[in-house]
């Protein structure tokens, strides 16, 4: 056994040297650990906090409008609820990037459970008829959250949406279900948002001071979470509806698998999500250019095809945004009549995933720890 210990000891010695050498290259970065980190401060204070605040205010407004609608449903109130739902769903797109970080990760029920699509409409319908349910048990996982509201507020069920809440024999139960789903969203969002606030759990401070590149450091958590979110965009929002998931297969186009199928705003939602991920990378948020992940990538002088890796990533993000804007909503109809623009965007996002999940993390010494879940 001595020899084995010796080899490990040696490995440790070399590893120490390697880390010293690694740190020396970037004396101005705090990625080596300790203190605070200006990138994390910027992302935490100027990107994440505003995103959660926006999500909180939109879901609070939505819930109030639903309460009002339920007292006396009419067309005007329904239109108002539908508009506020879209705002809240859009706001979610700038917050889902952090589902694997801190409060959202430890939130129970699972915070990511607020956007599991496609919705299982048969479960919602039967819950409404029975009138007795706990929307947070596993069997109801795809009968809650934003996809449930998308269905409840935009599916006419053969007559009209308003009739579902007025003349339908299950109108009373449906109003109750609508309120329950909305209240759950509001409660979960406010709990997570509060945990980030300096006046609440102050996770924003923990986030800024949990420096270093270990798998439990903020950067490791953020990049893993961001990449998972990017893969949701690639696989769930585009790949599965286009029949391209799992990769290398050719499957039928599945229009009902898109996000926001009933409201028809899939591309709008995906575009906001893509831009949110882009802003975490570039640090650019409406008008001001703060420090994003690009700061680290530039600091380690990471190269890609004989040029700076960071330039390549920025170029690909810009192109992905342009290609996303070229897809007309509703996505469910577009992929049937003209799948090419969505196909192009899927390929573009695939490139981004490789850069963001392989090249960037390896240049920063970040390990990707989430699984492929491929059954092997």
């Amino acid at each position: 056994m001595k020899k084995r210990i010796g080899i490990l000891f040696f490995a440790g010695v070399f590893a120490t040297l390697a880390v010293v050498a690694f740190s020396c290259k970037k004396t101005k970065s705090t990625m080596a650990g300790g203190g605070t980190d200006s990138v994390l401060i910027n992302i935490g204070n100027n990107i994440i906090l505003p995103a959660y605040e926006q999500l909180t205010s939109t879901t609070v407004a939505l819930d109030a409008a639903i309460t009002d609608f339920n007292t006396a449903p009419d067309a005007t109130k329904l239109a108002n609820v539908q508009t506020l739902f879209k705002s809240a769903y859009v706001a979610w797109q700038s917050a889902s990037e952090y589902n694997g970080v801190g409060p959202a990760m430890s939130n129970q029920p699972a915070f990511s459970g607020l956007n599991l699509f496609p919705v299982t409409t048969t479960i919602i319908d039967s819950n409404i008829i029975v009138g007795n349910y706990n929307i947070n048990v596993l069997a109801n996982a795809t009968a809650k959250g934003f996809p449930a509201l998308d269905y409840l507020l935009f599916s006419d069920g053969g007559s009209s949406v308003l009739a579902n809440y007025t003349t339908d024999i299950h109108a009373a139960n449906r109003k109750q279900y609508l309120a329950a789903v909305s209240a759950d969203i509001k409660a979960e969002v406010s709990a997570v948002c509060n945990a980030w606030q300096p006046t609440g759990g102050n996770y924003v401070n923990i986030f800024a001071t949990n420096t270093g590149n270990s798998i439990s450091g903020s950067l490791g958590l953020l990049i893993n979470s961001l990449d998972q979110d990017l893969e949701v965009l690639k696989n769930d929002k585009l790949g599965i509806p286009l029949g391209k998931q799992p990769p290398g297969t050719t499957l039928p186009i599945l229009p009902k698998e898109v996000e926001g199928y009933y409201s028809g705003i899939s591309v709008q939602l995906a575009l906001v999500q893509l831009k949110a991920i882009q802003s975490i990378y570039t640090g650019v948020i409406t008008g001001s250019n703060g420090m994003g992940l690009d700061h680290y990538v530039v600091a380690v002088n990471a190269q890609y095809n004989n040029g700076p890796l960071s330039d390549t990533i920025k170029t690909r993000f810009a192109q992905a945004v342009i290609d996303m804007q070229a897809i007309p909503d509703p996505l469910s109809a577009t992929i049937q009549s003209n799948p090419l623009p969505a196909d192009n965007e899927y390929t573009e996002i695939q490139r981004l995933v490789v850069l963001m999940k392989t090249d960037m993390p390896s240049s920063l010494g970040i390990l990707i720890t989430y699984g492929d879940n491929d059954g092997d």
Partner: protein, 411 residues
């Protein structure tokens, strides 16, 4: 773990090992660093200086006379059995005949699709390489597939059938009445009952023991000792330049890579295989035995780490609201738990009582034949309640195998 990754990248440079009669000094030379290991003063050699034998450990599994074609063929047979079982995971259902699977396992009646390997006429059969306990389990599993694959309904508690993953609707799962996904249970049993069993309980135990010839070189396969070592490596399921190259990983090769962030199994195992093989070829049997012991222990830990990895995947499935996929990953975990029993090594870390404890965490009322519908209980449990159960399994493994929370999180 990032640190160990760096060390390995350099570690792969040439390692020079000097061996001396009656005592060993191992020098591992990398750049300017030299490590002196277990050098003892030897009072007997002061008057008779010995010329040191120097040998080099290559960075890839490139040795003279390496031959593990039999293992490639056996793993190809295993692939085809698993593929046959997977035919049942279709809607509408495809019936899989148990006797066909048993025939394939015993390589009779020409069921293999022969490509370059000529599997049907090879004379090889997996049955010869399988732990007796695992073999009994596999025959039962084949019978179960034979029965359940006849179901034409979707799966529900008490009813066998095929259901789709909700998150990936193209993935179909034939589940037993108690939610067992036999195709993965079978695959994991092949891993534990054949691959790991052969490596840790046969090759690294009996086949490389004292008395195995290491002098007569057979062209193409080396000495008997070299050949057994190579065959053990063949059951690992990795390319010769692993872990630099992680493509085409199979069975435990794939799992080593998946849990590598948790305990660096890639470099531990590959280094041990490389050093041990070089040692054999240079008659350094003490080093060979040390490496064998590392391999035996690491395969034990790797199986345990694989259970932790499946708990992570189960959590991901639960959070995706995908109960069907969760039955799949729990069945994989169950296969790894039962594989712990197939390991009869004296150095196995987990005790039989602790294995029983683990099994009870899957279903305390039926630990031997768990009902996974009780574990998940989709209609009555929230995600956090189910994840408390996966965490209990994770924590017990961590306690027994001494994996800390950071390691557990990275597996």
């Amino acid at each position: 773990m990032y640190i160990l990754e760096i060390s390995f990248a350099v570690h792969k440079r040439t390692q020079t090992i000097k061996s001396m009669k009656k005592h060993y000094c191992i020098f591992i030379t990398l750049s300017t660093i030299i490590f002196f290991g277990s050098c003892k003063k030897d009072k007997n050699t002061t008057t008779t200086p010995v010329t040191p034998v120097t040998y080099t450990v290559p960075t890839t599994y490139n040795f003279t006379n390496v031959n593990y074609n039999n293992q490639k063929m056996l793993l190809a047979m295993a692939d085809q059995i698993v593929a046959k079982v997977n035919l049942a995971n279709t809607i509408p259902n495809t019936v899989v005949v148990a006797q066909t699977l048993k025939d394939m396992f015993n390589n009779v009646n020409n069921h293999f699709n022969d490509s370059a390997y000529n599997l049907n006429t090879s004379g090889l059969k997996l049955a010869d390489y399988c732990s007796a306990t695992a073999q009994a389990d596999l025959m039962n599993y084949f019978d179960s597939i034979g029965v359940y694959s006849q179901s034409t309904t979707s799966a529900s508690e008490g009813v066998a059938g095929v259901s789709a993953s909700s998150a990936s609707p193209t993935k179909k799962y034939l589940l037993s009445p108690s939610g067992i996904f036999y195709s993965q249970l079978i695959k994991k049993t092949i891993m534990g009952g054949i691959c790991a069993y052969e490596i840790a309980n046969v090759y690294m135990a009996d086949s490389i023991g004292a008395g195995i010839d290491n002098n007569t070189v057979v062209a193409g396969s080396g000495t008997a000792l070299e050949h057994y070592w190579d065959e053990a490596f063949g059951f690992f399921g990795v390319p010769i330049d692993f872990p630099t190259n992680v493509s085409g990983l199979k069975y435990f090769g794939s799992y080593s890579n998946q849990v590598n962030a948790g305990f660096s199994s890639n470099s531990i195992l590959m280094n041990a295989f490389l050093i041990g093989r070089a040692a054999i070829s240079n008659k350094d049997l003490t080093t060979e035995q040390t490496q064998a012991a590392i391999i035996v222990t690491t395969f034990d830990q790797l199986d345990a780490a694989a259970i932790v990895q499946e708990m992570k995947e189960t959590d991901e499935n639960i959070e995706a609201g995908d109960a069907v996929a969760a039955y799949g990953t729990l069945s994989e975990a169950l296969g790894f738990v039962r594989s712990l029993k197939y390991n009869t090594s004296a150095t196995r870390i987990i005790t039989s009582a602790q294995i029983a404890q683990l099994e009870a965490l899957f279903d305390s009322t039926n630990p031997d034949v768990p009902n996974l519908y009780n574990f998940v209980n989709a209609g009555g449990s929230t995600a956090s309640e189910i994840e408390a159960k996966t965490d209990a399994i994770r924590q017990l493994i961590g306690h027994i195998y001494n994996f800390n929370s950071t390691q557990l999180a990275a597996m």
